[in-house]
Symmetry: C2
Subunit: 186 residues, 2 copies
DNA sequence: GTCTATATCAAGATAGAC
DNA sequence: GTCTATCTTGATATAGAC
């Protein structure tokens, strides 16, 4: 009932490609590299996906679905509550989808032409607004972007495990971003 | 006396390559792309530099020299003073060498095999230690890396100018990283 | 110091066998 | 569903003219 003995080749491709895209970039990863690590041929890759870019799209779709869910949960809350929850949920999201998060924040911006990535970038922007509690102050926006990018960057490398990262990232994000006097500790 | 009318082709190559490497990555930038923007031929590029990788090395050398100077200035200070100054000087350094900083923190780590980059990575680590005030606490190290990476990432994009970024980055870095009760405001 | 070839190689992608 | 060719393109790099 564990159903992990034999993952589908398609899922295996996504796993390997996600890891390599996040580590050495989209252009830095060749189909050859992915095929070798998956243990199949380039042609087998291209049976499962219509091209390298389609692999990236599939990975980003995963991240986008999760991000959409997060935004839906924050909808309707007042600004301070949304900010606090946004920080916590964002950290959890990044820890769950480490590689996909790195893709959204680092490789997707390089494809600004591609309309398929428009929605996920717009959602990342929305999240940033919620985390600044809607502030128009450039300093607040810069602070939020600094922390969001920093979190994603740190989460990429496998030096730290999620159990260590979670409290540390929550702490730094709250100290840096939450302006109200309460909630500064936990 | 302005001496900006005609920069050398070599400097122009470095400027353009630095911008493109930071924006779309090392692998994502072709000699063709650089040559077009510089307004010369690929062959002219390869007259000035022995290869694409040599251009990257020259850019990183600039960043490394600045980083070495920064570390020398911090040498001998006690931990809290070194931490405060490290934060301020790091922000100034990143703003002065935006693209080079992005290279050190994002593309150089992908060349972990290359021994030529060993020293600059070691120096970036030293800086991280100074900024944690020597703490062994994983949470402190994670916080420092989060902020350092975040600062570099935000500084890459030209949406903000240095005058706006400097106070905002200093503020977020201090709030996130300085543990002593004083100095939390300025 | 810069350009016009051109060599060489690896990448993404396709066709068709198994 | 996966493999063995093979095609096409574009990238780095070299040689030699100007």
């Amino acid at each position: 009932m564990v159903r992990m003995v034999r993952v589908s080749t398609r899922d295996e491709i996504l796993r390997v490609a996600g890891e390599q895209f996040a580590r050495v970039g989209f252009k830095g990863t060749s189909l050859q590299d992915i095929a070798v690590e998956v243990g199949c041929s380039k042609a087998a890759l291209l049976y499962h996906f219509a091209g390298k870019e389609q692999i990236l799209l599939a990975l980003v779709a995963t991240a986008e679905a999760a991000l959409t869910g997060l935004l839906a949960d924050l909808d309707g809350l007042d600004a301070p509550a949304a900010q606090a929850l946004a920080i916590e949920r964002f950290v959890d999201l990044v820890l769950e989808f480490r590689r996909e998060a790195a893709l959204v924040y680092e490789v997707v911006p390089q494809f600004h032409s591609e309309p398929a990535f428009g929605t996920v970038l717009a959602e990342a922007d929305k999240l940033c607004v919620l985390i600044t509690a809607g502030s128009e102050d450039p300093a607040a926006i810069i602070a939020a972007q600094t922390v969001l990018h920093g979190i994603v960057n740190v989460a990429i490398d496998d030096k730290w495990d999620a159990a260590e990262l979670r409290p540390a990232l929550l702490r730094v994000a709250r100290r840096a971003l939450i302006t109200t006097p309460h909630h500064d500790k936990d």
